[in-house]
């Protein structure tokens, strides 16, 4: 119980900021280091933190297990799919410049999609692994 007073207060305070930081990293991937992967890791990290502080049920409440498992291939699909889109539209694989009239924007959209894919996959994988470990522990 006593562990949870300090842990609880501390955690409660930073949780939303962690999530926001994750999203920040996600959207600034093309400026600083980062993008989908760290964002995914941090998001998953937040779920883990919830899990270890407030218990598995709380974690499941914000990140249902089934959803996580589904997210893993989904993310990759988005990633690869974006590349294929370039292919279908007659350019090279991973060439996003065709996704919009203006190549520059096209690239941006492409990056966004790809990063989103990465985020989904990584977050999904990490959380799923965490859940798996917890299950094992039981």
């Amino acid at each position: 119980m006593s562990l949870d007073l300090i842990l609880r207060v501390g955690t409660k305070l930073i949780l939303p900021f962690i999530l926001l930081f994750a999203l920040y990293v996600q959207f600034h991937g093309d400026y600083g280091p980062g993008g989908g992967f760290q964002a995914g890791v941090i998001t998953a990290g937040m779920v883990v933190l919830v899990g270890i502080t407030f218990g598995l049920e709380a974690a499941h409440r914000i990140a249902p297990q089934g959803l996580m498992q589904f997210m893993v291939p989904l993310g990759v699909l988005i990633y690869a799919g974006t590349g294929v889109a370039g292919l279908i539209l007659g350019r090279n694989y991973l060439d996003y410049s065709v996704l919009a009239h203006d190549p520059a924007h096209g690239h941006e959209y492409g990056i966004i999609f790809v990063e989103a894919g990465v985020l989904i996959t990584v977050a999904g994988t990490m959380t799923a692994i965490f859940y798996a470990f917890v299950e094992r522990g039981r």
Partner: protein, 157 residues
């Protein structure tokens, strides 16, 4: 109200981090802030304990003082560590926190831990079990100066 404040804080956080003020990123930031608030609500962290914005305006008065405390005790502990004979006298003691809210108590406990030389190793009700590197540390903690500070910060008295 609390949610609004949280959202505002988050958005400020975003803007501070971002540094790129393109409309695209600004809007994205806004949306993200909202998403985070919703998530916070779903996580049930957006309550008085999790986001005590009432206390924020007192922060400038408390934390500088704490920082100074930290500096002092850091220097003291540094001297201990560097002293060839390592003259430490580890001591366990219990101090009573007079705070009424969990936030306040937590702040007190953390403040103790933050200042080098003392660590809150346990919280039982309002009693904080403290481990001090030297006896004096324990003693002047018992004198309760920091306790009063925190209580004031918490907005009691």
């Amino acid at each position: 109200m609390r949610y609004l404040a949280l959202g505002a804080a988050l958005y400020a956080f975003w803007l501070a981090l971002s540094g790129h003020y393109t409309p695209y990123l600004m809007t994205a930031g806004a949306i993200c802030a909202v998403v985070c608030v919703l998530a916070a609500i779903r996580m049930r962290t957006a309550d008085r304990e999790g986001f005590p914005y009432e206390l924020f305006w007192r922060v400038p008065t408390y934390y500088p003082w704490l920082a100074f405390e930290v500096l002092k005790s850091a220097w003291a502990v540094a001297k201990l560590i560097l002293h060839p004979r390592l003259p430490i006298s580890p001591t366990m003691t219990v101090v009573r926190g007079s705070q009424r809210t969990t936030t306040g108590l937590a702040t007190y406990a953390n403040s103790i831990t933050l200042t080098p030389g003392t660590i809150t190793v346990g919280v039982n009700g309002n009693d904080l079990t403290v481990h001090a590197l030297v006896r004096d540390g324990a003693v002047d903690l018992e004198s309760g100066g920091m306790d009063r500070r925190v209580t004031r910060f918490e907005g009691g008295a």
